[in-house]
Symmetry: C2
Subunit: 235 residues, 2 copies
Amino acid sequence: MTTHPRISDCLHCAMRDRSIFAGLSLDDLRDLGMEVHDISVPATDMLYLEGDRARYAYTLREGAVKLVKTLANGRAQIVRLLHHGDLFGFEGLRETAYQHSAIALTRTDLCRLDLVALEALSRRLPSVHDAINQRWFNALQQAETRIVELGAKNADERLATFLSQWCSAYPAGDAVPFPLTRQELGEFLGLSTEHVSRLMAEFKRRGLLTERKNLLHIPDTRQLILHACASGACA
Amino acid sequence: MTTHPRISDCLHCAMRDRSIFAGLSLDDLRDLGMEVHDISVPATDMLYLEGDRARYAYTLREGAVKLVKTLANGRAQIVRLLHHGDLFGFEGLRETAYQHSAIALTRTDLCRLDLVALEALSRRLPSVHDAINQRWFNALQQAETRIVELGAKNADERLATFLSQWCSAYPAGDAVPFPLTRQELGEFLGLSTEHVSRLMAEFKRRGLLTERKNLLHIPDTRQLILHACASGACA
DNA sequence: CGAGGAATTGAGATACATCAACTTGCGTGG
DNA sequence: CCACGCAAGTTGATGTATCTCAATTCCTCG
């Protein structure tokens, strides 16, 4: 699963100031008392499976990961999508088992943090503790937003809102990496892959977006929202 | 809004060992350095409105409260339902504004905690800090479960799962208080009130549940789940 | 160049929403 | 205590959004 795990050098990490170790002194960083493994996995690789005993949390440095819950009958729901800078697997600090399966959407680089050591570290360094809590809080807010999306919006609205938020991480008007398949879009938005496909085609027909390879281009997200959310559901 | 707020006596509170102050010594409890107001509101009363500047968190002692988000076009989504022992409004520890509206479903008794004082207290007493974090974590887990419900299950499954979970707080086989209207059920489950009504009628016809006044009786939750979730979605 | 998964497209079925009429329950005021 | 009135609930008819199943095309990669 992991290709050549190495001990990471946190001092010179590009993610340093966006990670849970942001704000630590150089001394603290040098003396973390914990090995941070640098790992890298190809697309479709599973980092862990829902129900597995939780041993590690991960910081995503490059790439994208989905967190999936699967029902008894096989239906899958993508609970969260993770990007550059996100921390995940940290439910292991409170539960013995992972609550989702984590699967790479692209080739992905991560830092792997031992949960026991992280627990100790977080007890020792308040800024780490706070950083983790802040991530929890953010995850909660995001989750509640998703509840509203899924419970109160129709398909066009869900898709349009999602796409424009996906792009919001990049400079406006640029083409952005878009590694999700139609099926994954469906599993995230609670729709069938066919319906997603039709909606995407419809958006393209109206000139609201274009796609090529794994690049998505939305000339004007405001237009997209406006056209897809005629009812005014998306503000 | 508040009827006769009084300074609460935390020492003799019935909720003491289920609240965020559980585990505090008697000395700590006596010296909280914070006024806890005892308030009581009738059904349908709004405790705060989404977007309001957040001043207080609340512990629910008796009754039930809904947390609602409202879309620009007026559609409402109930994000969370709160019961005996639940803490809410604590997003005010990280955000300046409340992220939902809080509305009482029944006559409700609460403890009102000043957020600034709570923040200070949580910094001073690790067990309070931990207790609050634990609530965040629980809320996150619950929210993710709701995402799966809304994204991957159909109407029967959602309703059946919800009803049996609602009852799980009470001894099996008992009739339980059920203060939700059909509309509120719909706003929680992402369904129209008419559809909820039809499904309830169907469940009754099949003998899976009975209702009278504001009491719900489910003889056997396993049966309910079994019949409503033929596909095996609900384990 | 060929093969296999992903995407698209169409036709048909269905789950759910919408709209409208009607009933039931219940508090209120005469 | 009854009658009224309103809100909640029910029920039916109809519309529509979305799913399902199946066939076809498009990519991508070996």
